[in-house]
Symmetry: C2
Subunit: 146 residues, 2 copies
């Protein structure tokens, strides 16, 4: 078992395309050493980072946000289980929030679109107290009534 892996080995094990891996490296989410030839050599533990990245993406975090989190890992040693646990705690909260958000949404959908009213005076559906994670630009905020 070699101590470092080539980009293709990492790609196969992670299911992430090499082009994406290069992109992640460029963005500073992962890093590699170089062989004399200039080829990348990834330490085994980047796979853990990649796992985290993949996970984070599944619920909508941007690479920027993920990088911010990963940057909190210690750099003086390869992150241990405990190091990861610290990150994970925060993330459990985020997942919880998302779930709660969706549950509120679901409730309102049932009560509000369900009855076909969609009135914004009686229904706060489109003025949610907390904002939903949004990819696109621009506000989604209803003003006045329909």
């Amino acid at each position: 078992m070699e101590t470092t892996l080539t980009i293709n080995q990492i790609s196969r094990r992670s299911g992430i395309a090499s082009s994406a891996l290069r992109y992640y490296e460029e963005r500073g989410l992962i890093s590699s050493e170089r062989a004399g030839s200039g080829h990348r050599r990834f330490p085994r533990h980047v796979l853990r980072r990649l796992a985290f990245i993949s996970f984070a993406q599944t619920f909508g975090m941007t690479l920027e946000e993920i990088k911010t989190e990963l940057d909190k890992l210690p750099t003086d040693h390869v992150p241990t289980g405990d190091d990861w646990a610290v990150l994970s705690e925060k993330w459990t909260h985020r997942v919880d929030e998302q779930i709660a958000q969706l549950q509120r949404l679901r409730k309102t959908l049932t009560a509000c679109i369900g009855c076909g009213c969609l009135s914004l005076k009686s229904c706060k559906m489109f003025n949610p107290e907390d904002e939903l994670r949004q990819r696109g630009t621009g506000p989604r905020k209803w003003i006045e009534d329909i």
Copy 2:
């Protein structure tokens, strides 16, 4: 209370930029009549469609998908509460699915990243049975172990 509204009136009431409204019309999600001048005149009920669009976007549907749903509304009359209710039922299910998905994710996160293992032999976190909605391209599937 006029029967039709200008693009700016719609924009103010919906919080959606006029440029976006034009874009939605171009994509066929909403439609308008035109004044003699060529200016758009929106019937009041497009606000209901816009509410639906906004709602759908909050949990990650694409405009394409949203259009497909909206196209199911009757065209022979302005959609009634019952018409909307038909759509809404399907959507409640989707929200439920998302919640369930997140709950599974949360559980695995706690058990798996929590302990710092991230081992893919013992943990199916990155091979979820059902796929998550994904914006980006490429598969997120872990093969072999870390």
